[in-house]
Structure formats: C-alpha cells, structure tokens
C-alpha cells in the first residue's frame, strides 16, 4: 500500500512510518508532499490535518494509529508516550526519553533532508527503542 504524509518529517511521522512497516503493512511504500493537494489519489494519508490517521483531540498521530489498528502491545503504548511528549512538548507523560529522542530526530532531519532516506534511517532507532523497552518491561 502507498502511504503519504507531509515533507519535513519529525518524530511523530518517523515513528508512524516505522509503526506502519513493522505492525501494519510490511510492504508499505511512502510518498511525501509539500501541499496536501499534491498527494497521490490512491495513497493513505497520515499525520495530515483532517485525515483519519492524524492528531485527534489530545492524541498525536502515533497514538491515533494504535487506536485505529487496535495495537495493544504495552511496549508500543510506552513508545506512544515518548513520541507524544516529544511531538507535542506538553510533558503529558513526563517521559525523560522524549527530550533525547527529539534532539536525535531533529538532528537527523537536518543531516538527511530527504524524507525517504530519513525514515529508513530512523527505523533502527525505533527498533532499538522497542527492543530496549521490551527488555525493561520484563
């Protein structure tokens, strides 16, 4: 399936892209647009104002994905807290990891301006975070 989002991905969108590939659609391919009007017709939009898979109320898009796809993995719930705090900067969950994750992804975004390259590179970070938290949760 083709998934599309805005250019200039930060923590929420890189985390969503990882979530899609690992838990929703292993065959996923991604497109990035500047203006929603340029999005390919067949694509599923995410983290775009007004889309189903986007911010809703207090939730960031990653949290919306977990609800929409009924992903009840407790490790993903923890990652959702970290992504929420890094994305919305409201300290809702007080996760200390969010500051570090925010700095790393912001830096990678500057270092890798191509969004396709960026989301491929950030996969390893979220894989690592998942593995670490899974081990902690035992």
């Amino acid at each position: 399936m083709l998934w599309a989002t805005r250019r200039g991905c930060h923590v929420d969108r890189t985390a969503c892209a990882w979530l899609i590939k690992r838990f929703v659609d292993p065959e996923a391919s991604f497109a990035f647009f500047k203006d929603p009007a340029e999005a390919p017709d067949e694509a599923v939009l995410f983290d775009v104002a007004g889309a189903r898979l986007s911010h809703h109320g207090d939730d960031c898009s990653f949290e919306t994905f977990l609800k929409e796809y009924s992903l009840e993995d407790p490790v993903l719930a923890e990652i959702a807290e970290i992504v929420h705090d890094a994305d919305l900067m409201d300290e809702k969950y007080g996760r200390p990891e969010s500051e570090g994750l925010d700095a790393i992804i912001r830096g990678m975004q500057l270092h890798l301006p191509d969004d396709g390259t960026l989301i491929r590179s950030t996969e390893a970070i979220f894989d690592g975070l998942y593995t670490y938290l899974a081990r902690e949760a035992l």
Binding site: G8, H10, A49, G50, M89, D90, E99, R106, Q109
Partner: protein, 173 residues
Amino acid sequence: MEGKSRWLILIYRLPREPSRPRVAVWRKLKDLGALYLQDGVAALPEDAVTREQLEWLQLRIQEADGDATLWEGQPNTLVENKGLVEAFRTSREEAYQSIIARAERIQAKARLGGGEPLLTELAKLEREFRAERRRDYFRSPLRKEASEALKAARAAVREGGSSAENLSAEGGR
C-alpha cells in the same frame, strides 16, 4: 549585519466562551515562545518545528469553532525585522534571570550542605532551562550566563553531596 528572516504569523479568533480552548491556545503559544503582535496575531520564526506546531494549533482552533489562518512572510524593512528579533530576545530575559537567581540560591545552599533535595530542585531547574533554550530562537545574551550558573550549581551540589556522604560514612563507623 543581519538580513531579514522568515516568519510564521498565526491570525486567529476564538469564541469568548468556553474559555478553556482560548486559554489552551494562549498557553501553547507561550510554550512555543511566540510573540503576540496584536490580539489574536502571534508570530514565530519559521522552521520545520514551528511550522508543524502552528499547523496543529490552527487545526485545534478550527475544531473549537474558531477561525485561524497561518501566514508566512517577512517584515517590510530590515529595521522592523531587527525590532522583532530584539523583542524575541527580550521576551526570554525574565525567564533566564529567574533561572540564574534560583541556580545561585541552590549553589549557596549546597555550600551549606543542602543534600538530596537540592539535586531534585536542580534537575527541575535544568529541565526548565532546556525548555527555555528551545524557545530562545535568537540566542538571548543571558542564555550563556544561565547555562554557567547551572553548571556552577551542579558542581557545588555534587561536591556538597560527596562530602555529606563521607560524613555519614564516618558517622556509621
């Protein structure tokens, strides 16, 4: 000489009641370090993060039955641009001054052997500094001073902590 920078301007209006969304929007803009140019007109320097945050805020305003448009642009003249940059720097000074004063107080208490609670207080202050730094888009001159005050406070707390440990270890013997 600085040139003109690009700015994002959020122009919005929310119903008088309920007040909750109005307060939430005001608080979010304050957290982002935005500057109100007029009632309902807030400015931020343009970058990927401010753009994203303002886009979500615009959506939240619309969901709360308000109107919001997001603009990007430049002031007409270099002088106006400079004035805006200065206003942003000034807007951060009060917070840095408060951080510096509290860091100095912690440092003084640590010298008197403050112990564990000081470390918690300091960690909270350091966190506040990082939040302040994030919205200090034009490097307010007090940033460096605040950072140094926090480093000095941390060094004093660590020293104080280790000598207190030595004392209690000796006392236990």
